[in-house]
Each structure stands twice: as structure tokens, then as C-alpha cells.
């Protein structure tokens, strides 16, 4: 490992964070966008390198300020973090590549430096959460990413973005504060904030009441941030009315990072130490996951606004991720972690398509989209591919995670049949809601005849197709995410008896 590699965990966060302070000063047209995109690309490159270094199960530790853990703040990157980092930085980079024209159409020029600066802060915050190995540090970066997301979402041109983001702010803050209470209670009982140290020390006090309360607070708090059903109520409107590019970015990775923290915290700190915790964890999350899957998909079937439709589909997809985790098995966790990656690919592509549609259709109600597929065949083609991935058709990335998930559930034996039924019913519901859009977009008539020829910025088309092709590529050759997810689940579970 060369000298620079050792610093990568820190650089992953510091580069976008510091650049955000510079971007805010870049007034000239397009410069802020260019700088942001370049920064994000650098971050992406860093995460690729980190993934390469951790693929074999290695962990890269970094002592901030040179102070040894648990006294200083430690960073740690392993296969799990690397995978989530890839998702975060990749989503940001691809979205930014296509973002310029869409952002120009939604955000006034003089406000754009603030917007892009907030984008980088969101990126830095999310990356910061992922690399952190310190419970309180996670909170700090969670707040950076949350505040930055509120800013980004509030940039939506529709005024309904404002109540939506306010609701998000309230629920997000409650979630973060619950997390903080949980961390406080654990700190009180163990005297440490470092996750690895906590893992060692919590054992002696594992049966004490504050720890049990802490587990509850942390799970609920992070569940709020991750939009686990029924704590998802902030999500649909926040996604629907945010600027389109912001939705594409955040939908691909923001809730996933909270799930990452939830899994990490739970499996590193609680699972092995708290008696009966595995059962409680399953018993609590499994029903919620199943309900989330069914209700999210069910609502999506009847939703009339394209972005809200996708948002409810996200609620269901988060259910899949939680479902895999709640099985508390290597196969289940692998499925869950893999789905974090694959869902990001599909949803990112879909929301980018929504952005392209919105630029030409004047609205995103299904009624506005009549016949748009024929006017924008390339965009529509990408939509179909990503939609198929969401459904889980073989040859797409979504299929791979569904395969893993069903295989994992089969390990349960007969009780698993009911769960498989839920997964399958939800997949079929996905067929319905995706095909509703396909039919309208392809066979429908434009709401107003004589609409202008569509203008689609080439960069946006490029971004859309990068995502669409990634959906196909990782459907045929899923080794990279599958290996990372495999190592990650091993890592999370190798403590367990």
C-alpha cells in the first residue's frame, strides 16, 4: 500500500467537503457545475481504489489526527463500506454528469453555487458516515448530509417541496436525536464511542436496561432516516418535489447509508452481545419489511405522479433490503447488501429518466406523459431496462439480488414460503406499475397535440444510458458487487457463533 492509499479514507470525505467551500464562491456560469462534477469524479475514483484494496476482506484503518483509537476518532473502510461508498460516489458522479441542463431549468443561476456546494456537502456527509468508525462522528456527518439534503430538496421549483422538506427536517432530526440518545446511553454504560471498542466493552453490561433502551432508540432513529416502513412518510413527497437531479442522487444512496449504519451498528455492537437480540431484531424488522414491500408496491400501483410512484417503489425496495438483513444469515445479508447496490442502479436510472421526461413533458403526472416514449425513444428504452431491473427480470441487476434474496429465504424452509410469496407478489406489482407507465408513454396520446420536438441534453442521455447499461452489465457479470457483498456479510457475521 503506498503512501497515498493510506490516506484514502480521509480523502474520501475531505476532498468533497473542502471543495464545497470553494464551489460556493464560483459565480461564473457552469463553473460550479464543472468543479462539482470533477470533485465527485475524484471521490468516485477514490472509492474505486478503496474497493480494490478491500475486496479480499481487508480493512483500512485511519487514525484521525494521529491519535490512537479509542481516544481519537478512527476511520475504517472494509468491503461493506467500500460497496456503499461506490454507490454514493457513483450515484453522485453519474447524476452530476447529466445534471447541468436540468439544474439550469430548475434553479436560478445566482443560486446555483449554493446548490452545488450543498451537493458536495451531501456527498461528503454521506461518505463521512460510511467511513466513520466512531459512533458520535457518524452523528456529525449524518447531520451534514441531512442538512445538505434538506437544502437540495428545498430547491425544488414546486412550492410543495417546502412542506415536504420541512417534514423531512423534523423527522430526520428526530431520527438523528434518537440515535444520539442511543449512543449516549451506550457511552454511559461503556465509556467509549469507538465502535470496535464498544463491541468489546458492551459485553459486560449487555443485559442492563440502558443498553436495551439504546438498541431500541438506535434502531428506531436510523429506521426513521432510512424510511423503513412505517417511518417512511417523509419520503414520497420529499422525493417527488425535489429537483429531479437531487431525487436521482438521494434516492440512489441517502436512505441506503442509514441502513448501512443500522446494519453496522447492530451487527458489530449488539448482535453478538445481547442475548436474544437476533430474535428481537428479526421479529421487529421482518414484519415491517414485509408490510413495507406490500404497501409500498401497492400504493405505487395507483400513484399518478411518476416521481411519487418511484418513491413508493423505493419504500418497497427498502423493505427488500431490510428483509434480507432481518434473516440474520450470511445469505440474507449478502442479498440485502447486494440490493443496496442494485437498487441504486435501477432507481438512479429511473429518476434520471424522470428528469429527462420532465424537461419535455411539462409535468410528471402520468397524464402528461402520453406518447412521450415515441418522442424520446432512447430515454424510453433506458426506462424500460431500468424498469425491468426493478421488476427483477433475468439479465438485469435487479434479478441478481432477487435471486439471492429468494435463495436466502429458502434456507428458512417451510415458513419461508410465505415470505417468498410476498416477494413474488411485490415483483408482480412492480410489473403493474412499471407497465402502466410504459403503456402511457408508448401508446398514449400527448395531452396537448402539437407539442414541441423534445430537447434532450446529450449529457443527460449519456448519464441515463450509463445507468441503464450498468443495470445490464451487473445483471450478467455481478461479480464485483456480489463479492463485496459476500465479504461484507462475512465481516458482519463472523463474530456470531
Amino acid at each position: 500500500m503506498n503512501a497515498l492509499d493510506a490516506h484514502l479514507p480521509a480523502l474520501q470525505v475531505v476532498v468533497p467537503m473542502l471543495l464545497s467551500a470553494i464551489v460556493v464562491m464560483l459565480k461564473p456560469r457552469g463553473l460550479a457545475w464543472a468543479a462539482t462534477t470533477a470533485t465527485s469524479a475524484v471521490a468516485f475514483a477514490i472509492s474505486i481504489e478503496l474497493a480494490r484494496l478491500t475486496l479480499d476482506g481487508a480493512t483500512i484503518n485511519y487514525a484521525m489526527g494521529g491519535w490512537p483509537a479509542p481516544f481519537g476518532i478512527a476511520l475504517g473502510v472494509d468491503a461493506f463500506s467500500a460497496l456503499v461508498l461506490l454507490v454514493v460516489t457513483g450515484a453522485s458522479t453519474v447524476t452530476l454528469i447529466g445534471a447541468r441542463a436540468s439544474v439550469d431549468s430548475e434553479i436560478a443561476l445566482e443560486r446555483q453555487p449554493f446548490f452545488y456546494s450543498a451537493w458536495l456537502l451531501a456527498l461528503a456527509g454521506l461518505a463521512g458516515i460510511v467511513v466513520a468508525a466512531d459512533a458520535f462522528n457518524i452523528f456529525v456527518f449524518m447531520e451534514i448530509s441531512s442538512l445538505a439534503s434538506y437544502v437540495l430538496i428545498a430547491g425544488g421549483p414546486d412550492r410543495r417541496a417546502l412542506p415536504a422538506v420541512f417534514k423531512y427536517l423534523i423527522m430526520g432530526t428526530i431520527g438523528a436525536t434518537f440515535y444520539l440518545i442511543g449512543v449516549g446511553l451506550i457511552y454511559m454504560m461503556t465509556g467509549t464511542l469507538n465502535l470496535a471498542d464498544m463491541e468489546l466493552r458492551i459485553h459486560e453490561v449487555a443485559d442492563q436496561k440502558p443498553i436495551l433502551a439504546a438498541a431500541g432508540f438506535i434502531t428506531v432513529g436510523l429506521g426513521l432516516k432510512a424510511a423503513v416502513f412505517p417511518l417512511h412518510v417523509w419520503l414520497p413527497n420529499a422525493y417527488a418535489y425535489a429537483p429531479h437531479m437531487v431525487t436521482a442522487f438521494l434516492a440512489a444512496c441517502a436512505t441506503k447509508v442509514s441502513i448501512y449504519v443500522l446494519l453496522r451498528f447492530d451487527f458489530f455492537v449488539f448482535q453478538e452481545n445481547l442475548t436474544g437480540h437476533a430474535f428481537q431484531f428479526s421479529a421487529f424488522l421482518l414484519p415491517l419489511a414485509l408490510l413495507g414491500i406490500l404497501i409500498g408496491s401497492g400504493v405505487a400501483m395507483f400513484e399518478k405522479n411518476l416521481k411519487r410512484l418511484f418513491a413508493f417503489s423505493s419504500v418497497a425496495q427498502i423493505g427488500y433490503i431490510i428483509l434480507g438483513a432481518s434473516l440474520v444469515s450470511v445469505a440474507g445479508l449478502t442479498a440485502s447488501i447486494l440490493h443496496i447496490f442494485n437498487h441504486a442502479l435501477a432507481k438512479g436510472a429511473l429518476f434520471l429518466v424522470a428528469a429527462a421526461f420532465a424537461m419535455n413533458a411539462g409535468g410528471l403526472r402520468l397524464a402528461d406523459l402520453g406518447g412521450i416514449g415515441k418522442r424520446m425513444p432512447w430515454t424510453f428504452g433506458a426506462f424500460v431496462i431500468a424498469g425491468l431491473s426493478l421488476i427483477g427480470i433475468p439479465g438485469t441487476a435487479g434479478f441478481i439480488s432477487k435471486w439471492y434474496l429468494i435463495s436466502a429465504v429458502m434456507e428458512l424452509g417451510v415458513p419461508g414460503i410465505a415470505i417468498i410469496a410476498v416477494i413474488i407478489i411485490s415483483s408482480l406489482m412492480a410489473v403493474v406499475y412499471i407497465w402502466r407507465v410504459v403503456e402511457v408513454a408508448w401508446f398514449g396520446e400527448p395531452a396537448e397535440p402539437g407539442v414541441a420536438a423534445p430537447t434532450i441534453p446529450p449529457m443527460l442521455i449519456a448519464a441515463i444510458w450509463i445507468c441503464a447499461l450498468a443495470n445490464l452489465y451487473f445483471g450478467i457479470a455481478p461479480q464485483l458487487p456480489a463479492d463485496l457483498a459476500g465479504s461484507a456479510s462475512q465481516l458482519l457475521l463472523d463474530h456470531l457463533p
Binding site: 464562491m25 449554493f114 457511552y187 453490561v205 433502551a213
Partner: protein, 325 residues
Amino acid sequence: MTVIFGVFLLTLLVITALAIVRTENLFVAVMLMGIASLLIAANFFILDAADVALTEAAVGAGISTVLFLGALALTNAQERSTTSRKLLSTIVVVAATLVLIFATFDKPEFGDPNSPVQTHVSPWYLEKTPEYIDIPNVVTAVLGSYRGYDTLGEVFVVFTAGIGVLFLLGANPGVGAGQQAREINSGLRHHLIPRVVGRLLIPFIILFGLYVQFHGEYGPGGGFQAGAIIAAGIILYALLEGEKRALEVMPQKFLLGMMAAGGLIYGGVGVVCMVLGGNFLDYSVLSSNPVKGQQMGIILIEAGVGIAVTGTLLSIFHAFAARER
């Protein structure tokens, strides 16, 4: 004696909190909130947390109140007397309270010197600080160096809030309206006594702020508190002399520059450490003597914090003030 005082303050606090929820006049609620903050600050002081007490007083009772008042001026001061989802809310709240009360029973005893909190990590800080950093205020040492990365994050949280408010409110509600606002809001220039008293006070406030800034290594204080105090001083100036004058002294662009520069100074120090062969924010490489390097680093980053906080708070204040029509 302190025990009784503590119980008294806490009881007062609970009463204040209940009053905050019950009152329908938002102005009263904000004022009570300021009082609650002061009570909390007093409690912190009893609990040996001088730095936190200073911060809570400056922020909770000061800045936060100003912001709330600014928002009230732009909205309504009266709440409609409806409570939605009363039953559900009550159930949730009561359930959560019971969980919390349940959790208290296994807690280590209050102030127990043998509790894990007191025995695990913190003794190291108290023991090693003279050796590694050699400044009297251990809180500053932890804040600036041991957990300097958190503090960097904190600066960027503030920065995010700053650009967020500028992004939301900076988009002017029409140039004409903004102009008008500034003319109307000409401060208290025509009121002699507040103006004279205020003018006398402002230099002292700023001086105190600078003292807090640079005395952070020795006593309670540091960049954040100093930034809040200096910002408060300048806000007072703006209130007395009018927005326009204040903006002439420190234009928006300059404030934005401060916001960015503060974060960049802090992060820059970290990057320099990295370039010099240490880890990020490892100040000991800044000088040939590691202890001196640590001290230097802490002074620099505290300066960054102070600049960023001052710039951000003032930007936020101006953004709110410019909205008034």
C-alpha cells in the same frame, strides 16, 4: 447546597418547558425558550461544564432567540389553538417516557467516579494532555485535537446551514422589495438612549469575543463561542444603526467569504499536516516540537472556527432581516 439549587433549577426547567408547550402566543414561547436555555446553561455550570454553559447561553438564549424572533416577525406570532393527533401523540410520548424511565434504573449512579464514563477513555485525556498538548483547558484539547475531526464536521454543519439559508432566502423576493426593506429597517437611529448605550457596549462585546477566542486554551471559550459573541455584537450594531450600515461594514459577499474561509482554514491545516507526513489533522508535524505544533494547530483551527461561525451567523441574520417588508 448545590444539590438543592440543582433540583430547584431543574424543577423550574420542567415548568418552563410545560409552559412553552401550553402557551399559544409564539412570542411568549420563544421568550420562555430563551429562559429555558439559560436554566439549562446554569445547570451545565453546576455540572462543571463551563464551556458548554457558555455556549448554551450564547446560542440557546442568544442566537437562537434572535432567529426565532426574526422568523416570527416574518410569520405570525399567534398559534391557532388546535392540537392534532392528540391521542396518538400522547400514547407515543407516554410510551417513550416509560422506556426512558425504565432505562434509568440500571444507570451508574450520578457523579459516580467509578462509572465506565469516568474510568475508560476520559482519564487518558486528563493524563496525557499535559504531555502531548500542554494546554490547561482539556475541553479545548479534546475539541481541537483529539476529536478535531468532529469539530471540522461541526464547522461544516454550520456552513451547510449558512448556505442553506442563503439558498432559501437569498433568492431575493424582487429587487424592489429588498431595497424597500432596507429603507424601512433603518434601526433605532432616532432613539438616542439605546443608541448611545449600544454604541458603548459594542466594542466591549467584540473585545470579549476576541478574548474568548484566544483564551480558549486557558479557560472556557474557543472559536465557536467567540464567533457567536462577535456575531451578536455586530447584530446589535445592525439593530441600532440599521441593516444598511451593517452591510456597508461587512457586505454579504465578505460574510460569504468568511464562511468559506473558516472551513478552508480548518481543512487546510489538516491537509498541510497530511502533506508534512502526518495524518489528517495531526498538528504535531506542524512544528519541530510536537507539543508546539499541537498548540499552533489548535490556535489556527480555532481561528477558522471563529471566522466561519461569525460569517455564517451574520449571513443568516441578514438573510432573515432582508426578508422583512
